[in-house]
């Protein structure tokens, strides 16, 4: 019974030329977004790989230098793009692509797409995620708004029900039929994306990319299903197609435009971020309270020196088995890194609080839930950006301390003239970044998963309960 009606809905829709034109347009947009997105991904990924290789070689083959000069020479960490980030650019276009890694300073990522592009990028890019999140629901609305109202207006609903079909069965059948139509529009693009992605190969393990891709598809299918059921329910609750369409368009505007903007503004208002100048001043002030690696007269350096004298039972810096310059630098680095990290964590916390408004609003709006999950699976969300930033900082800290250790153990106190050859720099492993596992990405979005499940349950249980009691005549 359900299959027969679903088949009818499917065939009827395919024979509707208006819908076919609309579907073809969306399908073309999806395919174009997939191909353009993949092209852009490959180009950026190649650029970043080349840049990373170049800076790694520059570091490894750097001229003979004093180790602390090398720490200031520094290196760069380029953020590789996640394999399926071409489907959802997320924050990638706005967050930086590279971090300069140097002694004493914790730099943030620079050179984002948005910085290097025209301001049009801020209006949103034509990505697969944009089409799936914004345009597909619109297509679903145009597909389903008359699901019940048209049958009520024409009287076919009475004929249908007189054959022994219950309202619940009719509703499920329509949902099933429309789901098949939506799958027909979406599937070619996702299949093409998968083929192109996995035939080309990404930088991360294929299993991770595959799992992320699968979850990406599953979350969107759930999102579309929610919109299909919602549209069918709204249609069932109205007597006229025009009012059902207006209601559904109001829901779309609210979900896809109004609420996301409102939650972002609310987050920024409730949790204000410090200005960069303020943060730099705060950091500078606190760093100044610790050991200054470059200042031999520093009081805290003097205390450290006395501590070392006591530890090694000596009375002068020359008698120490280690180079005090390197030890002082390491202590200064430890302190400044700690201060930077504290402030960075505080800033991250503010951003996370801002995001949390939008995350919890997913319980009211499935668009927000799927947007977070989409970015999460694509590896282009805030959490992935912070993950990279932390990995880059860990590498920077270890590099600086490694060079400080070389200064402390291989050079004499006061030796500012010795230059070490590049064989020393080759001892350092180059920066390598691995996109975290799918489980990690999923754990960051538990609330969004719950929100999507909540919506599925709400429309399936609550929505169908409402349909059972609609007025047929």
């Amino acid at each position: 019974m359900v299959k027969s009606i679903a088949k009818k809905e499917f065939i009827s829709t395919l024979r509707d030329s208006r819908f076919m034109v609309l579907s073809a347009a969306v399908l073309l947009l999806l395919l174009a977004a997939t191909i353009v997105g993949l092209h852009s991904y490959k180009q950026q990924q190649a650029e970043r790989e080349l840049a990373q290789t170049t800076v790694n070689e520059q570091f490894a083959n750097a001229a003979d230098r004093h180790p602390h000069r090398m720490a200031h020479f520094g290196s760069f960490a380029f953020r590789p793009k996640s394999s399926i980030s071409f489907l959802d650019f997320g924050l990638d276009s706005f967050t930086g692509a590279s971090v300069f890694l140097e002694a004493h300073r914790q730099n943030s990522a620079n050179f984002s797409q948005a910085q290097q592009s025209a301001s049009l990028i801020r209006f949103g890019e034509m990505t697969v995620a944009f089409v799936l999140q914004m345009l597909l629901p619109l297509l679903i609305i145009f597909l389903c708004f008359g699901a019940f109202t048209q049958e009520k207006e024409t009287g076919t609903l009475k004929l249908l029900l007189s054959q022994g079909v219950s309202l619940r069965q009719a509703a499920w059948a329509k949902v099933l039929g429309y789901s098949q139509v939506v799958a027909l529009v979406v599937a070619p693009s996702l299949v093409l994306a998968s083929i192109l992605l996995f035939s080309a190969g990404g930088f991360e393990p294929a299993s991770n990319a595959l799992l992320r891709m699968l979850l990406f598809v599953v979350f969107y299918l759930a999102y579309f299903f929610i919109f299909i059921v919602l549209s069918v329910v709204v249609s069932a609750l109205h007597q006229r197609s025009s009012t059902a369409l207006v209601t559904l368009l109001a829901i779309w505007i609210s979900c896809c435009i109004f609420v996301p903007k409102a939650t972002a503004n609310l987050g920024a208002t409730l949790y204000t971020t410090p200005t960069k100048a303020q943060m730099d001043a705060d950091v500078h002030e606190e760093v100044a309270k610790g050991i200054d690696g470059h200042n031999e007269q520093d009081e805290r350096a003097e205390a450290l020196k006395q501590e070392l004298f006591k530890k090694y039972g000596v009375n002068s810096l020359e008698e120490l088995p280690v180079n005090f310059d390197g030890i002082r630098m390491a202590a200064g680095e430890e302190h400044s890194s700690h201060v930077y990290q504290e402030h960075f964590d505080e800033l991250t916390e503010v951003f996370e609080k801002q995001n949390s408004i939008s995350v919890y609003a997913g319980l009211l709006n499935p668009y927000l839930a799927v947007r977070h999950l989409s970015m999460g699976m694509a590896g282009s969300d805030f959490e992935h950006y912070i993950h990279f930033q932390n990995k880059a900082e860990t590498y920077r800290y270890n590099l600086a301390q490694g060079l400080n250790n070389i200064q402390a153990t291989r050079l004499q106190y006061g030796d500012k003239t010795t230059r070490l050859s590049n064989s020393t720099w080759k001892e350092f492993e180059p920066f390598r970044y691995e996109v975290p596992g799918t489980g990690w990405a999923l754990c960051n979005h538990v609330v969004s998963v719950v929100a999507l499940l909540f919506w599925l349950l709400l429309v399936c249980v609550g929505g169908f309960k409402l349909i059972e009691n609609i007025n047929v005549v």
């Binding site: 027969s4 009827s12 009287g155 029900l161 007189s162 054959q163 022994g164 079909v165 047929v472 005549v473």
Partner: protein
């Protein structure tokens, strides 16, 4: 005889209007009952109550012994329905519409069988493969008749079924009803057509403002007498 349709003190109140005032009625298998009445008399309300599309305010409607209100889906197995204006799915052909509605009723007919039902209902064979969107009202009505006949129901509920049919098709429809009646189908028909009621009906009921004001056996009077009686009640 087997009672296939029954109303016991059936009432329906719409806000401040009592649309049906305690209808008591029985329809036996093979009987054709014609319900006459003006627009708004309560004929469609009565049919909607038997179909379970609306719930009675008081009393009960029964189809094949089952109370409709508590067996809304089950009673559909025993009844078929033809509305005044049969609307079908415009993107499907007449044949596909019939196949769909038959499958929903539990009948998986072959193409030839479906064609036979359509042709018997008066639809030209060549029209069966055309999309219903291009059909006239009469052609849709014929597909609706085929859908009802193909269901082989015990009870046929008809709401102005000959509306939109040409005289020849109306006549063929009357013959079809008589055939079904002879085969044991109980037919409940709401109509304005006094002459058709006299022609095919076993009994005629006259409904006015939600009340069954007269109940007559068609064998007791001719069409002219019936018309006079009907008009008397309407004034």
């Amino acid at each position: 005889m087997e009672i296939v349709l029954e109303a016991k003190q059936l009432k329906k109140q719409y806000q401040d209007k009592l649309a049906l005032k305690g209808l008591d009625l029985q329809l036996q298998a093979g009987e054709i009952f014609c319900l006459l009445g003006q627009n708004g008399a309560g004929k469609s309300t009565t049919i909607n109550l038997f179909l379970g599309f609306i719930k009675p305010t008081a009393g009960a409607a029964f189809i094949n012994g089952l109370e409709v209100a508590t067996n809304v889906t089950k009673v559909k197995e025993y009844l078929a329905y033809i509305p005044e204006n049969v609307m079908l799915y415009p993107n499907l052909t007449g044949l596909e519409n019939l196949a769909l509605f038959s499958r929903l009723a539990g009948f998986d007919y072959k193409k030839e069988e479906l064609m036979q039902y359509l042709v018997e209902a008066g639809l030209p064979a060549e029209a069966a493969a055309r999309r219903v969107g291009a059909y006239s009202k009469g052609m849709r009505q014929k597909v609706g008749i085929a859908i009802a006949v193909a269901k082989h129901a015990k009870v046929l509920l008809l709401d102005e079924p000959t509306s939109g049919l040409d005289p020849k098709a109306s006549n063929e429809f009357s013959e079809l009803l008589l055939r079904l009646s002879k085969a044991g189908t109980g037919i409940f028909m709401a109509t304005h057509d006094i002459f058709r009621a006299k022609e095919v009906g076993t009994r005629v009921g006259i409904m006015r403002e939600g009340e069954l004001v007269d109940l007559l056996a068609t064998s007791d009077l001719n069409a002219n007498e019936l018309e006079k009686l009907y008009l008397n009640y309407m004034h």
